[in-house]
Amino acid sequence: MNDQNELDREVQEQFDPARRFLLELADRGVEAQAISPSPLPPAQLLEIVEPTDWGKAAAVAQSQAWRWVAGWAEDGQALLSVSVCLELQGIYMVLRTRTDTRQPCLPSHAPYFFAANRPERHMRDLFGIEFTDHPDPRRWTRHQAWDSETAPLRKSFPREGLPPEQTPPDMNYPFFRAEGHGVYEIPVGPVHAGIIEPGHFRFHAVGETLLHLEERLGYVHKGVEKIAEGRTPESLARLAGRVSGDTTVGHAFAACLAMERAANLEAPPRAAFIRGILAERERIANHLWDMAAICNDVGFGFAYYQLGRLREVWLRDNQAMFGHRLLMDRIIPGGVSVDVANGAGERMRASSKVLRLELDDLLTIIDANSSLEDRIVTTGYLTLEDAQTLGALGFVGRASGQVFDVRHDAPYSPYDQVEVKVPLEEQGDVASRFWVRYKEMRVALKLIESLLDKMPDGDIAAPWITPQPDAEGLGLVEGWRGEILCFVRFGENGCISRYYPRDPSIVNWPALEKIALGNIVPDFPVCNKSVNGSYSGNDL
């Protein structure tokens, strides 16, 4: 009998990572409660009773190879809560603990997970939570618009804040210093030379070679989390669509999924299929543009203009079929705002076919270009080991051989009804990140066709149901840059009391610091473009 129990336990442990995690916590004397049924599907919710055990929980998670997905805090007046989402083999788990509001203090997860480093600094800057043993205690999102004593995301803090008449420049950030014979510094930004978002890069170089790169972001922090509070579901979907303008479908999808789960509502099947089509169209438009820009950054104008031409045609199709070039505000709580009209399906099939032929043609020419190859092959390496340590997401992880795709590993509607292939490249250089995008476009074109083939009839939106006060929800989708997490909590009157979107850029930006090392300064732009992190999605 005992043997049987023991065997059962072993089998369960093997197949249920969350259970294995719970058992290990118990072995280490950490008191944890699994909340059942979980209020945060698809994730299981685990409360860590003693905040002092928060670090131990991270140690256990690290030893079992969980991936640190995201962390966010909530001001519950009497107690502050901190939640962390982890993932292993497509299984999501949220750990949560509570700490005193007056002097909130928790052990840091950053010594165990690199991905926790900046998010914890963000929580410290916006909630005033101290993370003990944090390896990098410098401020992150906070520049000079508020002081270290102020915590803008506390409920008592007014939305309009108490900003100075003019916000002073952020002059005294303690950058890492490199010294030695011939070492020099190149400060770049926040206003860059191209038509791109603002951020600061501090390079240390010897001759042409980069010794060190430090990113200083936060310039486009515009208080997304704060101004989300009190919004209606429709209004939050609009805001989510502007967390990062190039990922408007991805973020709106994640936010609506989170709100719908909180409301115990499911979008009609047809709506889910249209969402899938919108998401794949967004993926293709962005990959075309990134591939064009990678070529442009090494001076290969032919590919830049050709791929840019294909993108423009694609965006015009978006306008004609869905009424917006970038597909903003097409995903709404409960469904979508626009149907695939009669004839639009045929048009999409036809344009997919044209795009496929054009890409065949172009990529053959591009592949044969030895001067392009010379610039992008072996440039900007990210090893598989580094990708895993950083938890790199999307095409950045997949170009280094790291297989993970929410659509495949934790499928949600409509991807649970179609086959999703996850293409890989293994070399981890700029060329890999270029080619993995191309392969992903081919998969996306196939997905659009499968979704059109299987498209069910019916409504495109379900009537909204006002969620209970305090209801919470989690949305996890594969945006074009990678996994997007969205946490939502409702307050009174069916309005939002907390919104936290985690763009994949938050995790992938540190990868660029690794990728740039050892490359020549003139190759930085192409390294940067091959990752293409969102500044706005990072800074919130």
Partner: protein, 177 residues
Amino acid sequence: MLSLYRKIFTTGVLTEKFAKNKLGPQQTARELGLDELGEKLKSTVDKRFAGSLHIRQVDAGSCNGCELEIHALNNVYYDIERFGVHFVASPRHADVLLVTGPVSRNMEAALRRTYEATANPKWVIAVGDCGACGGEFGVSYASCGAVANVIPVDAVIPGCPPPPLELMRGILNLFSA
């Protein structure tokens, strides 16, 4: 290499003559076709800017949506350079600042400095609903809202984001009025 040239020739010239295009529903006051506006601008640019108008784009807190559409101005379909309009890398080379917003407080000082670094005479165009009035973000502890709350603005191009045609019309209108 031959296949590359073949592709160039078979693709042909795609740059559009906008005068023949339908320009969308709300064009009442600005019915002029872009070619005609372009001609006007070109002559203005020739007279006042010795043939080229230099624009420095500044993202002062945008979600990046406006930037994507500003980029599109340089693709083969719109090719804004044919009107003598160039995007430049430094405010010191610029006649016009094309600013997207909302202006985040963390970008406020950088925007002021960029404005100061731009030589006179200079013009500022606020782009997008956020640049025009604060848009979805408005004014908060982290955001100054409209570009005009931080630096003087000469023209606005609303839209979320304004499509390339609207951007072209807005830029051309500033000098063709």
